[in-house]
């Protein structure tokens, strides 16, 4: 048996001996086991054209849901994500933040672009028809409920963030309130895979 034949066998044996804990460092986010393929979607992009999840294959995607009129959860989350990208340095080029609106009546592509660029010009927003967006929310288990307040309204929505790996697998869910260092920790692990 030559060295070329022996190498994959030894690597397999090493992986078996080391076990899953050694091969998969612990994330700070909640982890899905086994991971599933992230549901695909095709929406209007805030940068023009279509926003299709599969076009980011090869990057780590941070996927969130919210709306530009949100006064509490979304600004905090987006500021955290912007900070995490800055802390990542050059590796941030391999990370794409995608934010999908839960308020299509008010969030058109131009409005989303203006809002998201205030946090980070690389952030991409997704909008579309109410039914299209409802289907995406259902695929990702996102809850969004409209609350009328006088002549205006707000939307109560799921506040967590999904982490999708380079292969398009829905790997983890970061609860609201985690700091940029937690994101950096997990992104570095996912980027290294």
């Amino acid at each position: 048996m030559n060295a070329r034949t022996l190498r994959p066998i030894l690597l397999t044996l090493a992986a078996l001996v080391a076990g899953p804990a050694a091969s998969a460092p612990a994330l700070k986010a909640g982890v899905f086991e086994p991971p599933r393929a992230a549901p695909q979607f095709s929406l209007q992009s805030s940068s023009g054209g279509k926003l299709e999840l599969h076009s980011y294959r090869g990057k780590v995607v941070i996927l969130g849901f919210g709306f530009t009129w949100c006064t509490d959860v979304c600004p905090v989350t987006l500021a955290t994500l912007a900070q995490a990208r800055r802390k990542l340095g050059a590796a941030a080029d391999e990370v794409q933040v995608v934010y999908i609106t839960v308020d299509p009546a008010r969030d058109n592509p131009a409005r989303m672009k203006e809002y998201l660029h205030a946090f980070d010009p690389t952030f991409i927003g997704g909008t579309g028809g109410a039914d299209e967006l409802a289907a995406v929310r259902k695929d990702y288990g996102i809850v969004a409920e409209k609350h009328v307040k006088g002549s205006s309204y707000s939307v109560a929505h799921s506040s967590f963030i999904y982490l999708i790996d380079r292969r398009g697998q829905l790997r983890a869910l970061m609860p609201y309130g985690r700091g940029p260092d937690d994101y950096v920790h997990d992104l570095q692990i996912l980027l290294a895979e």
Partner: protein, 141 residues
């Protein structure tokens, strides 16, 4: 000097009480590792079918209490045959979700399985002081 029986009983009870408090306060609580830190909740097989028949199945409590270093990993598992919204997320059949906590705080999660639409997770700090150890043991009673 003669002691009344009542006084003796009260003194004995007091001594036992002090002893229990001393034990609860000064006996260290070992930190745990691996699966011992998990607080597991499972959706059993057939849950969806039972819900369709009108059964009210409360699987997740409204409030989950965890303690850092002892039980600080929330694990949700869907053993049913259909996808389920469980806790904060959508879970496929056979899928589990493991969420570690590292900060003592109160966390609110949107959860459609609850009437309130919210699931609360309270994470307590590791009980490092005698009083915290007493309180931690009292909560487990």
């Amino acid at each position: 000097m003669m002691r009344s029986p009542l006084r003796t009983v009260l003194l004995a009870c007091g001594a036992v009480g002090v002893g229990v408090l001393a034990w609860a306060g000064f006996t260290p609580i070992e930190t745990r590792t691996g699966a011992d830190r998990e607080e597991l909740f499972e959706i059993p097989r057939g849950t969806w079918a039972r819900r369709m028949k009108g059964e009210d199945l409360g699987i997740l409590p409204d409030e989950i209490r965890l303690t850092l270093g002892i039980r600080d990993m929330l694990v949700l598992r869907n053993l049913d045959e259909v996808p389920q919204i469980f806790g904060p997320t959508l879970m496929m059949p056979g899928q589990s979700f493991r969420l570690p906590f590292e900060q003592a705080a109160e966390y609110q999660f949107a959860c459609s399985a609850h009437a309130s639409g919210q699931m609360r997770v309270i994470v307590y700090p590791y009980p490092a002081t005698p009083w915290a150890r007493i309180m931690w043991r009292a909560r487990r009673l």
